[in-house]
Amino acid sequence: MSARVVVPVAFLVLACLLWRAYAEAPPTIEPRGASPAAAKSPAPLGAQGCSATGCHGHPVANSLTSSPEDSCWRSASTHWQAVDPHRSAYAVLDSTLAKDIVTRLARGDSSWRSPHDSRCLACHTNPALASDDAAAAFGISKESLTRLRSEGVSCEACHGNASNWLVPHLQWNSPVARTADHASVGFAPLFDLGQRALACAGCHVGAPAHGDTPARDMNHDMIASGHPRLNFDFAEYQRRLPPHWLEKNGDPQAKEKWPSVQNTPGVESRAWLIGTIAKAEAASRLLADRAKRSRLEIAAAPWPEFSESNCYACHHNLLPESWRRADPSYLQGRNPGSASWQTLWPFQASIDLQRELPEWKGAASQKALNALLHTHRADASAVQSAATTLADEFRSARIALAAKNEAQSKQILLHLLKGDALSNTRPLDWDEAGQAYLAFLSYLRDGPDAARKLLESKHLTPLGESLRFVPGSSSPGLFEPRRIRDRFQQLRGELP
């Protein structure tokens, strides 16, 4: 191995170790994209800029067969190429489904021509490459742009375009300066869980346009045309994604205490908590943006945008005796014929989370937004302003929670699971139950193995089964909230 490779590698390993020794609570990094765009957008280099054998393309990726270890960064690209689903994000645009979706979309909006539309590319490749002007903006040929796009959601889609940080990041050596180093060159601070969750939510929930990146908005027209619904849960998605990184945990002794920091008690709870807040923040920003774009003269966004509602509030078969009509508390004060806004459990307008989650100060803003949305004619301009206020409240809570360590996070989640958001008074619909289920799953994953397995098999697995859709269906069919609620109560009874 040449010195050219060994020196920086040794440097980085050393940096990692040093950081582990000195780092304290996760630093707060605010915010990528919120500051005015840099004078010149960083240019994309493509995955091949990262995948050199001496950089992140080491041919032996142990992370494929065991938990990631300190050196996993060396094969991060190899690992990604081998198993990461984001890799095929672009290729699926050539599928029959994608073509069918566009055919259906074109019926309502003739500007739809192909699945390589910037509205699809915004999430099916590096978002910075999605714009129609991207080739000109980056001074590259159309062919080069297509080649870069065809990498799918690769390194730079999440870490940011690399032209400004490719060289500097080889030289960083102080974990203490990590935050500042990343910020100085626009390298996405994905080591901050809140920032990482927001980066995921940018596509998995949606995001307004910023800089050269077009709006990422997968709306009801697209879903009705065949695109799967976005059901983002950060902790669960992260569990399912084979990690090509090692969690930079805040606890300096983590490595000694646990065979892998991935298993530090509280990691899952922390991911769920921060991820859920980040999702709510992203959803509120997207709503504000949709409300804003609905008032455009040209190419106005739909309003009301049906995908802002709970899907199964409408998409269910009708029954003479429906649980939805059995208990007025289900409506939480809205008109029976209106559709409820985004289910962001446990952030329900009717529940005060002050006791369980003192970091959350947005209850009043949420109430105000819900009051607007649950009238039959939500005024887009009022919604835009209320949703922006709410997004800012979620942002404050996210920053406050990202400063908590794993043990604290686990305690907070425990309080939430035992608190009013899952009390016995109101039937939960599928969306609420699904999110509460994932919260329990995250909490139990942080517990000792034996107890976890027992509780999972006794309560959680049957709960998951009763939430499962029948094969071939994308909706809950005959959903029985009473049984679900009973199961949650049993599970709550077993909590410490």
């Binding site: 709306n219 609905s294 003479p320 009509r325 071939g472 269906s473």
Partner: protein, 522 residues
């Protein structure tokens, strides 16, 4: 207009005067009829006797009539309509109030159902957001009473009626018109000399013998009108969906009718269906207009304007609707507008000449009638329907439909409707199938359940009118049965749970083939 003028017009009992009036009327009628026939024969549009009428009689309540309430006990005197012999003339009120086996008139129970558990739950949900002191019972709520009892505002100029009066439910005055003005006139012999329009406009009496006027009366509750509606909130709270269809309601097996139709059953069923389609379309458009004009107070978009089952279905990869990209004319993701009342708008003109004398409606007239409707659909199926534009288009559509309905009404009054025969039945069947299927003869033009169900109801009206399985269209039976089966709700459901539009398409294709052989063998 007041009582003095009405009294002046009261018909005389002098036999000489009566005879003279009769003769003059007869001559005038004959002359008019001859003129009409001549017009038809020469291919010109019939010179309508009341060309000025832009509205059919029977719409709303005449502005000039604001009588006070008189209880239906006035009708139920034994010498009038309460003779007690259920099912016989002279016992109309007795029949209305009676139960005969499992048959009765459901209008009688319209008020009492407001006390049942379902009604209580509806109100509990509707008023869930209100403080306790503002929550109402259904039987005190004008929203409910407008259709579940005599409508005080509309019929009696806001006179507050007693619970006793309301408790009669949808009683005589609800359909026949507020009776105070015509009560003492309608049994006078000269009453018969008044035109239906005069009876309505001067006395507030609804001539329900005329199917247009009758269906307009039905539709004011069963579809809705400017101040009566069953909106999506009410449905979501538990009120059944309104899906009115005149022929089906007339022939509801447990409906005990207090009158007998003068028409032969086969003609009546087809006409009830055909006129009902136009009247319901007009009523739905008028309702939309009032909703769009009232957006400051009312929900917008109002979901009950859309197809219920476009949204209310389970969704997924195995559901055939979503995965046939070429199967619809509208954009994915929007709610199709008024699939119940407007799905047959294009085919009705094509059917017209099978039902009414005078040949096909001229093409430009059809265009003029349907153009605002088509624009209305486009606007309503946008992702952001503009209420002001909708109100304007709906207003234009309503005016045209009103003018058309008044012509239809005149045609009915002058007896210009054709009897239903095997030939007209076949022609209507052919038109309906061609409207449901695309040119390929195999795929549905619209797979929406409402769209297919409306075509089924039209076909079924013709099939049953001609005697069903033992009539001259008996050959339709397998296809009609198959079509019905493809639309039936699974037991325990209020929506088409596993609806397979492809099954409906197969049934319609089968009917098309049957129609071809029947025509060939003619």
């Amino acid at each position: 207009m007041d009582g003095t003028r009405a009294r002046k017009r009261r018909p005389t009992r002098d036999p000489i005067v009566r005879t003279t009036v009769f003769l003059v009327t007869a001559i005038l009628t004959a002359a008019t009829g001859a003129g009409l026939l001549w017009g038809i024969a020469t291919g010109r549009a019939a010179p309508a006797r009341v060309t000025s009428a832009t509205q059919p009689y029977g719409v709303g309540s005449p502005a000039s009539i604001s009588p006070s309430f008189s209880s239906n006990t006035s009708c139920s005197a034994s010498a009038c309509h309460g003779n007690g012999a259920v099912g016989r003339p002279g016992s109309e009120q007795s029949t209305w109030a009676a139960s005969l086996g499992d048959k009765s008139d459901p209008h009688r129970r319209a008020y009492s159902v407001l006390f049942n558990a379902a009604s209580q739950n509806i109100m509990r949900l509707l008023d869930a957001g209100l403080p306790a002191e503002k929550q109402k019972h259904a039987h005190e709520n004008p929203l409910c009473l407008k259709c579940h009892a005599l409508d005080e505002a509309k019929l009696f100029d806001h006179e507050v009626l007693s619970h006793h009066a309301l408790s009669e439910g949808v009683s005589c005055d609800s359909c026949h018109g507020a009776s105070a003005k015509w009560l003492s006139a309608h049994y006078e012999s000269g009453w018969a000399l008044l035109t239906s329009r005069e009876k309505f406009e001067q006395y507030g009496f609804r001539p329900l013998k005329n199917l247009t006027a009758r269906t307009l009366a039905c539709a004011s509750c069963h579809v809705g009108d400017a101040d009566r509606e069953v909106n999506h909130d009410l449905i979501a709270a538990g009120h059944p969906r309104l899906a009115f269809e005149s022929a089906r309601f007339h022939f509801a097996p447990q409906y005990l009718q207090h009158w007998s139709e003068k028409l032969p059953a086969k003609d009546f069923e087809v006409r009830a269906w055909y006129i009902g389609q136009w009247v319901n379309l007009r009523s739905a458009v008028a309702l939309l207009e009032s909703r769009a004009r009232g957006v400051e107070e009312k929900p917008w978009p109002e979901f009950s304007e859309g197809s219920c089952y476009a949204c209310h279905q389970s969704i997924g990869e195995s559901k055939p609707r979503r995965f046939s990209p070429g199967s619809l004319d509208r954009a994915a993701g929007v709610i199709p507008w008024q699939t119940w009342y407007a799905s047959l708008a294009k085919v009705l003109p094509a059917i017209h000449s099978s039902i009414v004398e005078g040949g096909p409606i001229p093409e430009e007239q059809v265009q003029d009638l349907l153009a605002p409707l088509a624009q209305l659909r486009v606007e309503m199926q946008k992702t952001r329907p503009n209420a002001a534009i909708v109100a304007d288009l709906a207003g234009q559509a309503r005016l045209r439909l009103d003018a058309w309905l008044s012509r239809l009404q005149e045609a009915e009054d002058r007896g210009a409707f054709r009897p239903t025969t095997r030939e007209t039945g076949l022609e209507m069947g052919r038109q309906l199938v061609a409207s449901a299927l695309r040119e390929d003869g195999a795929t549905l033009r619209d797979s929406d359940w409402d769209f297919v169900a409306q075509h089924y109801l039209g076909l079924a009206a013709v099939y049953h009118a001609m005697g069903g399985a033992s009539g001259s269209l008996a050959g339709w039976k397998p296809a009609i049965d198959r079509l019905q089966k493809s639309l039936a709700f699974e037991k325990g459901f209020n929506s088409p749970r596993d609806y397979r539009p492809d099954d409906a398409a197969v049934a319609l294709k089968e009917l098309q083939q049957i129609l071809n052989t029947m025509r060939a063998s003619r």
